[in-house]
């Protein structure tokens, strides 16, 4: 019982990360058909924002020393700001480009961010003690769960509820949902394109920052490649979920987390190293049987 519960928690916490990532990618895809490869690098940049640039091995903690009630808004603001900046400087000029061109441009941007971080901080992973009180285990129904795992799940649930409320209850949310479904039509109804897109980028950046906070506290390191893995999985989750469908992205994120966790549990030791091959194989299968994704967004026209 205890260990089953543990597995459930493992799956949920990993799925939470993927779901948050997928949401960040789906939000932007929804409003401008951009598959944003720079998302992972925004995650990394958020963690590095806590440090003072230096190529020494020892990290010079800067903003990371703030109390949590300042630290969290600070990181969220960095994520949102960087993301909005990328829209202003780069993506705004690609509104009429085809998705493939935009995708490559976003990759180029990610490349720039990554090497900028590399130049400032070097490739050596820096350690930071982010929110150290979260590293304690807690006892739930006979299972000892790391507190952070619990918080990750709770934060994700809170973010999902908050975002749902935002999208359902506010005018901005309404406009964003309308724009995600049919951008041109929304504009013809007077919805300001730039405002909605900037909003989507800001939200997506804040979600990246949330992942950064979780990853940072969980791993205790800042590393220029740290967002890459989450981003790839999130990217896949977005597609499996049905591009443009936010609910689908979240669902698929949790599904991927569960599949990866279950594979790790049930595969024999020799096959465990091939875990990712099985996961990717499953992805291909899902796409063969449901090429439009698990929950395809109604009315979303694909343009690739």
């Amino acid at each position: 019982m205890g260990s089953l519960l543990q597995i459930v928690f493992d799956a949920l916490s990993l799925g939470s990360l993927y779901a948050l990532g997928a949401l960040g990618i789906a939000l932007i895809f929804g409003v401008m058909r951009l598959v944003n490869f720079a998302h992972g690098d925004v995650i990394a940049a958020c963690v590095f924002a806590l440090l003072w640039p230096s190529v020494d091995a020892v990290a010079i903690v800067f903003a990371g020393n703030l109390p949590w009630f300042l630290l969290i808004p600070f990181v969220l603001a960095v994520g949102a700001g960087l993301s909005v900046l990328s829209e202003l400087v780069v993506f705004r000029r690609f509104r009429r480009a085809n998705p493939a061109t935009m995708m490559i441009a976003s990759f180029g941007l990610g490349f720039v961010i990554r090497y900028f971080l590399l130049m400032l901080f070097s490739s050596r992973p820096k350690s930071i003690s982010l929110l150290p009180t979260l590293s304690q285990p807690v006892e739930i129904l006979g299972a000892r769960i790391p507190l952070l795992q619990l918080i990750t799940i709770l934060v994700t649930v809170a973010v999902l509820f908050g975002l749902t409320a935002f999208l359902r209850r506010t005018r901005f949310g309404l406009e964003m949902r309308a724009a995600a479904e049919n951008f041109t039509m929304a504009r013809m109804l007077g919805v300001r394109a730039n405002r909605v897109i900037m909003g989507a980028f800001a939200l997506s950046g804040a979600l990246a920052a949330a992942i950064a906070l979780i990853l940072g506290s969980q791993t205790g390191t800042a590393n220029i490649m740290m967002g890459a893995n989450v981003m790839l999985m999130a990217f896949i989750a977005t597609v499996i979920g049905g591009m443009g469908s936010l609910a689908g992205a979240v669902l698929a994120g949790f599904l991927l987390g569960t599949v990866a966790t279950v594979m790790q549990v049930i595969l024999p030791p020799d096959a465990r190293a091939f875990r990712d091959a099985f996961v990717y194989g499953a992805v291909i299968l899902v796409l063969i049987f449901r090429p439009q994704g698990l929950l395809s967004a109604r009315g979303t026209k694909e343009r690739v």
Partner: protein, 392 residues
């Protein structure tokens, strides 16, 4: 240091290949100045520069000053091959290549085909040498397998560990090397047992599933052999401790250093093998003196033990050149292969015609207790790991 760098930059002009002549001895560094490997290559290269400067200040090698040429591998294999060829074109007598076998071998292969001696800065795979490059290639560090074997035997003998758990990060050959050494040693330890094993990937965002497996054991193992490296190591250690597992954690040298300890506050029961101590408590006072010299040259303390192989490399090579009376490859290789227990600042070194690497070495054991690392012991495995076992 700054003047040294300017001198380096001036000699780096790739477009004007200099011809080797007898008045100069040139060491070519085909290492990463940018990209991921830079953080690993640069410190060892700085240490090598210190030894070169010492030799030059003392009158040079065979009466000649050692000169240095550089080329950047950009942490890229194809660029590595180019960098190797550039320093050879610039007249290098010996080619120093990147720390990691995968990234260093293209340049080493270029040196090998030009008939030059090559040295890996700190590669710890058996392939970094005869087996993976050719008869003129060497590594300045110690095999990863020796680290795993050292930790197993030491924990068994000194800490009375009997039940071991093996957690392998399949990301790199280095990680697998540590676990291979552990696997070789474990059956030789009477009534020591492996109570479980698992794998993960360095980039895994969470290793919760792997930890759950450890926790579902009837009782906590005495020791967890953790075969991984940065950056995933910190994450794994942090998650293991966060889950409330307090077994001793044994590692390879890749996690040496105090720079990351703030990520896991009050870490205890954590053991790492090192070639020399960066914590100022090395039993050999000359190591502490070297650390000071390193700080003078670079402005910072050594951050890990991987600084030291760079110094050892120039040291043993220069001795071999001195003894051979020439930089000619076959003579230098012959002298290197005669070294058996050759004393260096960081323990004795042996090269044979069978293996250009250390399959047995003296290691200092560093224990981290309540977040403070310090040398607690010294250990040399009871017998060298046979080459056949390393090649399996």
């Amino acid at each position: 240091m700054k003047r040294l760098l300017i001198a380096l930059a001036a000699t780096t002009c790739l477009t004007a290949p200099a011809l080797a002549d007898d008045d100069r001895i040139v060491v070519g560094f085909a290492t990463a100045e940018t990209g991921f490997m830079q953080a690993y290559d640069k410190p060892a290269q700085d240490a090598a520069m210190i030894r070169i400067k010492e030799i030059n200040d003392a009158g040079g090698l065979l009466g000649k000053q050692i000169e240095v040429v550089n080329a950047d591998t950009k942490t890229d294999r194809a660029e590595g091959a180019k960098a190797g060829l550039s320093v050879i074109d610039a007249g290098a007598d010996m080619v120093v290549v990147s720390c990691d076998y995968d990234f260093g071998s293209p340049a080493a292969l270029a040196a090998e085909s030009s008939g030059l001696v090559s040295f890996f800065l700190c590669a710890e795979s058996i392939k970094a040498g005869i087996q993976g490059v050719g008869p003129n290639s060497f590594s300045a560090s110690v095999l990863a397998a020796v680290q795993g074997a050292t930790m197993a035997e030491w924990a068994y003998t000194k800490k009375e560990a009997r039940s071991f758990y093996r957690l392998l990060d399949t990301w790199t050959e280095y990680n697998k090397g540590i676990c291979d050494g552990f696997d070789w040693m474990l059956p030789q330890l009477a009534d020591a047992s492996l109570v479980g094993e698992d794998t993960f990937l360095n980039e895994d965002a969470s290793i919760a599933a792997q930890i759950t497996r450890i926790k579902s054991l009837p009782e906590e193992p005495d020791a967890i052999m953790l075969c991984t490296m940065m950056p995933g190591a910190v994450s794994a250690i942090k998650q293991i401790r966060a889950a409330g597992i307090n077994s001793m954690i044994l590692n390879g040298s890749g996690v040496d250093g105090s720079y990351w300890l703030s990520a896991v506050p009050d870490l205890s029961n954590f053991f790492v093998p090192v070639q020399g101590s960066i914590y100022g408590d090395d039993p050999n006072p000359e190591v502490t003196a070297f650390n000071a010299k390193y700080k003078d040259a670079t402005g910072g303390d050594p951050s890990t033990q991987y600084v030291y192989p760079g110094y050892v490399m120039i040291d043993v090579w220069a001795k071999a050149v001195e003894r051979a009376g020439t930089t000619e490859t076959s003579a230098v290789v012959a002298e290197l292969e005669k070294m058996s227990g050759e004393p260096t600042l960081f323990g004795p070194r042996t090269f044979t015609s069978e293996i250009h690497h250390q399959n047995q070495a003296r290691y200092l054991i560093v224990e981290t207790d309540a977040g403070k690392p310090g040398v607690v012991d010294e250990w040399t495995i009871s017998k060298p790991i046979p080459v056949a076992d390393l090649m399996k």
